[in-house]
Assembly symmetry: C2
Homo-oligomer: 426 residues x 2
Amino acid sequence: MSEKKRRRGEAGPSATGKKSRPSSRADELRKQLKSDADILESVRRMSAASKSSTSKTLTLSDLNLSSACREVSDRDASSVLLSIERAALDAARSILSGSGFSFDIPSRSSSNQLYVPELDRIVLREKTSARIFANLSTVRKATITARVLSLVYAVLRRNIHVTKRDLFYTDVKLFQDQSHSDAVLDDVSCMLGCTRSSLHVVASEKGVVVGRLIFYDDGDRIDCTKMGIGGKAIPPNIDRVGDLESDALFILLVEKDAAFMRLAEDRFYNRFPCIIVTAKGQPDVATRLFLKRMKTELKLPVLALVDSDPYGLKILSVYMCGSKNMSYDSSNLTTPDIKWLGIRPSDLDKYQVPEQCRLPMTDQDVKAGKDLLEEDFVKRNEGWVKELEMMVKTRQKAEIQALSSFGFQYLSEVYLPLKIQQQDWL
Amino acid sequence: MSEKKRRRGEAGPSATGKKSRPSSRADELRKQLKSDADILESVRRMSAASKSSTSKTLTLSDLNLSSACREVSDRDASSVLLSIERAALDAARSILSGSGFSFDIPSRSSSNQLYVPELDRIVLREKTSARIFANLSTVRKATITARVLSLVYAVLRRNIHVTKRDLFYTDVKLFQDQSHSDAVLDDVSCMLGCTRSSLHVVASEKGVVVGRLIFYDDGDRIDCTKMGIGGKAIPPNIDRVGDLESDALFILLVEKDAAFMRLAEDRFYNRFPCIIVTAKGQPDVATRLFLKRMKTELKLPVLALVDSDPYGLKILSVYMCGSKNMSYDSSNLTTPDIKWLGIRPSDLDKYQVPEQCRLPMTDQDVKAGKDLLEEDFVKRNEGWVKELEMMVKTRQKAEIQALSSFGFQYLSEVYLPLKIQQQDWL
């Protein structure tokens, strides 16, 4: 895996070769670059700290909250099968004892959600409600719940994976609308205390990964240094992913596929041992699970490269804190400790991004930025607050690709190496 | 590559196990299935015909149209570099001789487009226009053209690949809006007579491939039978793809990622040697180039699995005929001979897809269907016309996943094998 691939292009003047002011600033910054070994030293320290970190991830039980709060966990098929059988037995017993047929379903409403600052995550409180078969207002939902349980049971028994849409189509007459089967699926996942992926109901993947990572996808050994420029598609079935190995020093989380392509083509990971991953915009569940998995098993720091706009930060927040409607599943989907490497509002002046490559923020952008300033995950990081305040004040945003104004390979040859050398992350 | 992977689940009753009428029809169809060897015989014949086919793809010169029409072709970096140098020399000579500075740009307007029935493609006629520097109405475009030529030259010299967005950001002051640099890029591609990929300006990829295919992505050997369930992301840079090898009998082109996932998880390609590819909806340029490349080099028949609705057929048409605004590049992007395997309107009754799994077509759907009936690529295939007329008449559509109503693996275990056994494609 340590085999060095040829790198294309040399560190030289920018591709355009013009000598205007932005370019000379770019050249100046390029001159500040130390040797690769020196640059790596900075990240090696962070990486070592991350690996030796004894501060294990806090759980609800560490906080004495396990009885007051509910979380789900990844469980293997046989244990979920057992839980479903138990649920069926409970129902049968309840019927035989004359108490009727009903399910006890955890409430997923926002009034039952709780932000736990120590965990930096949203979890569910303990409130549940009875879903009674012999009641006109709940009979339909109770029937759907029984049906979904039996379908999931069949899927797990066959050891296959299906999508939510597949599930819906198995009984359109009963479910009527996919939102109904989807909602009950989430109920079932809470009720059984396992993640949706443990139910073998998966989302479609759109993420890709490349770099210093070897893993197994359904038994096939995947070496991500040998995945060309296209990279490896992140598998939808996280439970079929195993045996992660890596000699990387960090994970580079990239918002957009254009930047991913640049780094993959330049084989950035050979110069700076890292794993590069992108969900191509809004993160999907498969990519979030995969990132969490890498972070947990490899204990690597995660550095994020997103656009300098509120949307870029929103994407970071989805990786870090999850989205509200999946709060019960948050511990498996969220990677709390992500460093904001760039593009940060302060970079625009520091790197002298030309005025015409910056974009004016719309009123809606500014509002989104101000809303973010009220979010817990921003507030607890002073550096982020400052950057965000600067963004809202200057009303300027910029895409990662604005760096192309200094040459197409400026991102991989100057910007990122300098960022790492200066440990310039928040 | 011929190594057999375990297949999950057995051909048995549908996952849901219920004995309602649709299921019994499903069982009935399942019983019609012959042995895998027999089924493969059908496709083997088609595959052999496809491989031995001496009818080489027609070109413009075969039709004596090469002087009247213009097409672009894939060319390597050194030859494109030479063309750019020549264009620069021509301009210099023209200036020195007192004729001034101008480019001769092929017109890409629809009045200059021509549908060639023999090729089943749209090509450009010969009309060009002078883009003169010393003229107020064209000076800006002439300047942009010169700039794009010099940028592309730099990219090719470095032997890297960039996106359209990267290109735009190198000189926002001049380009002002990305649509301006994009349009000139297409002009340059026509002017130099090479594809956009030959200019090393690539689109982001979203397609994935899995199955009996080995190829090289930027020097890395990729065995697509060993890509797990996630599959291999199709590389954006088609010119870095090489040495395709395959023992597949056909290419299965799938509209949606859910169906792709089902087939990948069931390792369908081990039972029926094939290459499975999807662009996850609307086809992107990288996937179209990749399909064309496979079809041309491996000489395999292409079978398409799309939703039974006008949108599914539109997707087929993009693969087959291209889109109008890329007509000059059509020979590299289009794969004319694709068979419509399913889901076809006639399948809904043949497979007795339950009423509640069919969706009513909206007025807009019906209009789209009627519009398709006027399209050349539909009209020249009688079978397609009949199917489409049935769709418009019954006003019913259905997704691939409607087959899940017979069990989650019905698609891979019954529907597709039976389709192939009966050579049921159009």
